[in-house]
Symmetry: D2
Subunit: 366 residues, 4 copies
């Protein structure tokens, strides 16, 4: 089986493992007050030269979203996001568990459109019976479907948020992949547009860990308190910090993302060339394609992938590349895709032939 | 500075680091459905031969307590524990944040006494205006003060819980140290007495990680759901599992605990010999002693320790040993303790002398 | 202004007011342990002869939904209901505030269809990443749009719930109106289909108060505890009980509902006769119709109604009748509706005429 | 049985009942946007001439505390109050259910002392591991034990709160009784000292209802949103407003409180004269006294009272007077107290006699 199931199937990049080993016998203060946490904060801050930020480390993604929402929102404030959002589909009610209502906006290629956003905000604000304050726009970049927001889209959404006294929060589980997808903005820009966001380590070469970046001064105080109360401070806090030192010290973060995007692009091009329907055109490391039954049967024991959903007779699957995916695996996958297509066409031809014969038989009178 | 601040100041024991390196390039399924998690569960289960259990892994202690409480308790049910409990003193309201009330019982050497427990339960159940159900007894073993429950105490508390249809939950952040403190029971006994408990890795040689053990069949279903919703499932779940494989495969868990207890015992004996007052007599790896100002001033720049609390003119400090503490560090600490005592006595003698002289001077008539 | 804004715009029916006065000087035990609460429970139970139930009284509707959800649901369990539900649209996040996720199903005339329900349950249960248990179906009868479930629909939904180990909860804010809408089932049937439901007093002649009926034995214990904790037990509990004695002792509950339905039916028939588009055909006391601007301008200062929503150039308004609405008011309303239609037609004719003239003018050559 | 069980055992004072009847057929807008709510707000505001306030009405006390706490506190902020507080002892975990931790301070005659308060705040703020912000001081005036804060005490507590950037919230379930207990301050003073407080109607002559007064401008916005979300807005909101119109239009609020205090004072004086031990000296309408078994047995079937707690062989009972208590009932109670004391003394004399005889018998030699 070749592994295209996800981008968090292996350990970590070499520099991180080295750091862990080298420092294993050092004594450090706990709870993120060590020198590595300090160094990791400086490294990330250096990528946001225009925006002095508060930076915190949390071990995993859902916990990060939970802590950030609990920190930012008052009970009467709600979150706006797309219906395809991670917090809607894949966090088992974690946000609602914190007491906050999510208002879903239909997605457009996994993204929230400025037009729908404005319309929703206006509708909520004009409904005197709603009695909630729409306060936070949550979006993921890259999205759940592998698409990426353009500079114009983010600027417009950021503008709408400011105009409506709302916060913009960006879930950056795959923000590395978004930044390396050929767009014309950087982490520094993100820091200007968002009031708070996070930089994902888990899905881009780290053992674990996400870096929370708070840029809005109003939101800086007391984050650590909410983090502690949520059980989201690691005793040996330096371990998460080391992930980000390893990722950012020599820009491995960007290289890993670029590499995985490139491999994904090879796969997606081949998929298009072979004539498979795409569920969504991606510019990052997640590829969604539609398989018929023959293709699915051919591939399922050779390639380790995730079934995204079922669609009539078809199966939509997700193929994911990462820092760890080998070029050989990509070649092999492409060959399998070719063979699956061949098998499918052969089966089709056979089916047509059989149908024809049946028709002939049926037609044949005495 | 020699480090006696805590037992989570360094990385991990060798076997764990080796496992991490060896498996770094393997591809594993996510969220704890990998072979290492399976292996770690089997290893822990093998220590509880009489009690078929559900075993889960969570990255840190407060999060573990939060998930377990959320899982077990209905809104109208409350927790009973000592006023010195970790969930009362050191979790920043994490339990209340899940919506549950904690009823505090005054501790006796850090422990909950069966008599106070019974009395509290009876009082609550007889108060028709209370309208809450006392449902869970929470205790830590070893306690926050380094003391350990006896077999008789745990049997009695377990009996009281069963009699009152309550659950017994044991916080095992330092359960290794408790088991190696010379008591006459094992994990297998704990599993019989408690409805659920956890085995702490973080404070006994692991990078992170606590193993939740659910022994009561009624409490087994849906734990994973609550875990997910609480943001407490790690994507690369095998990383926590490896901590427990490393700890239990060759009984490092027990050896680390035994070693740290032994070093602590040497220190405590020396403290007694030197005549320092103990705040609490400990049988595990945390030693609490009372320093006067001279002693404190002498030690504070030579030894890295935590101030527990202030007591009139005195300071109560905590000295902690671990798997990582060296025997040399212990010797050095003992010398410092001797010298601090000498300094203190000298200062006292000097003060007495000065006082005497003052008195003499004063007394001296013309 | 004639009042058709809602069905909770006035005080209460005569028998309730009499009870309040008569008993004003009696001394009663507090918190619902008085003889009136007992009597009200017996009266309601007498309407559910086949289903021994636990009955509780809560002062208002949202609070009732909150307490029932908190009582029934575990953290990992979610609610299924239509996107038009009261708990989705008009409770300001009250359900999410209790920590529970709501899964919305597109409504069909305000109702949840058995087919969509089944499909949603299957989809959720087959998604291994969802990690929540769909546990409670919430529906309102009558619905937010004035429509009523048929016997077959409720039987089918009840069957689906049982099959899937889910609870059926019915919000009965207007259950009186539903029962008097010409359907072929009674409260006794509702009690068989639902695991718990509530009977609305506020919108059918009481000053306030909703009666919670719990039929499922598993859900009976500890409701009072959750009620207390939620601040939902009234000190002078007999006051709510008296509402239900007044409503049920001589079947005023049914008469009020029948009366309001009949008046609404007169209005709706007139609306149809006059050619107004209906937004939704209602069989209870809420009528939704579409007004154009001329009609709206004509009516808005003569009739006190609620704007439901805007629809292009049109306004959808809601007209509500109640136990208190007079037949004279209904006649006056019908006259206004006639006049508004006349005005609208005149305006249209005038506009056409003007357009024609313009066209004629334009067309007219030299 | 004469009724001294509580001050919420009967309906309401005459003016309130009249208002309810008179307005029963008027049509009013819902949810507190009616003219009565407006009038009630103005009346209450007129009692706080120096402090422009936001005023809201909630139907009952625990719900009022819940909404106010949810409104004011962020997740990481905790409440400080005495261990005898209503929110600690009699609200079934309602505050914790909203996610907030309560820090208890040992009470002094039911009151929080400025010294203990300061000490607690300093201790919490100096504990770097606590990671919560003490933010709100909650106190009841009159207290649970019938005692009343002096002007100096409230000024000092208010000063401490301001100094520490904390809010002062006063639970005024029996604030009428406090104000009529002979102290030298008014509602206007309370409004200056507290950031928010509530005026209790339920226990001072209303059917139900508490008036929330928010004086701190920072806390004014969005209260209504939190109220709605908590299910704490009554559809027929004017009903609560009418309670406060009835209470304040002719100062019935003060007269009721004064009257009940005076009757209580008669009873307490008699208790002292008769030589019963008081559990607590009260200056309001709750009297706590200690009964021995003979006295208790004598009284329990003649007087309807509440047992407060058990104390060795004795029973501490609470006697409560209200606007509704008759002077005759008070006389009768005093006679019963005399007779109970007589019975007790007779029993004692008898016991002594018997003992003596036994001794004599025993002593008698051959």
């Amino acid at each position: 089986m070749i592994f295209f199931r996800n981008d968090y199937g292996e350990g970590c990049i070499e520099p991180i493992m080295k750091l862990l080993q080298q420092a294993n016998d050092e004594s450090n203060p706990g709870y993120g007050e060590d020198k590595y946490s300090q160094r990791a904060r400086e490294l990330i801050q250096s990528k946001l030269p225009d925006v002095p930020s508060d930076i915190h480390f949390i071990v995993s993604g859902t916990l990060t979203n939970v802590v950030m929402m609990r920190h930012v929102l008052r009970p009467y404030q709600c979150v706006l996001c797309t219906d395809s959002s991670h917090i809607v589909q894949h966090e088992a009610g974690a946000i609602e568990q914190t007491g906050h209502k999510i208002i879903q906006i239909p997605n457009s290629s996994g993204k929230i459109s400025a037009v729908s956003l404005s319309k929703t905000i206006n509708k909520l604000n004009s409904d005197e019976h709603f009695l909630m304050e729409p306060k936070l726009v949550y979006l993921s970049n890259a999205t759940e479907f592998g698409t990426v927001y353009t500079r114009e889209e983010l600027e417009e959404i950021s503008r709408i948020c400011k105009e409506n006294h709302m916060y913009l929060m960006i879930d950056g589980a795959r923000i590395g992949q978004a930044l390396m997808s050929g767009i014309d903005y950087t982490l520094n820009d993100i820091a200007k547009w968002a009031d708070l966001f996070w930089i994902g380590g888990t899905k881009n070469g780290a053992l674990f860990g996400e870096a929370v970046v708070i840029t809005n001064n109003d939101l800086k105080p007391y984050f650590r308190h909410v983090q502690k109360q949520s059980g989201a401070i690691l005793a040996k806090g330096w371990l998460i910090a080391m992930q980000f030192i390893g990722l950012f010290e020599n820009d491995s973060f960007y290289q890993c993302a670029k590499y995985s995007n490139e491999l994904a692009s090879i796969i997606q091009n081949e998929i298009i060339r072979l004539g498979y329907p795409l569920f969504m055109k991606s510019t990052t490391n997640q590829i969604f394609l539609v398989l018929n039954q023959v293709q699915y049967e051919y591939l399922k024991d050779k390639v380790d992938f995730e079934i995204w959903t079922y669609w009539d007779e078809n199966v939509i699957i997700r193929l994911v590349t990462s820092w760890h995916t080998s070029k050989t695996a990509v070649s092999t996958l492409c060959q399998y895709l070719q063979l699956a297509m061949d098998a499918s066409k052969a089966a089709e031809a056979q089916a047509e032939k059989e149908e024809e014969e049946t028709e002939n038989t049926e037609e044949t009178p005495v």
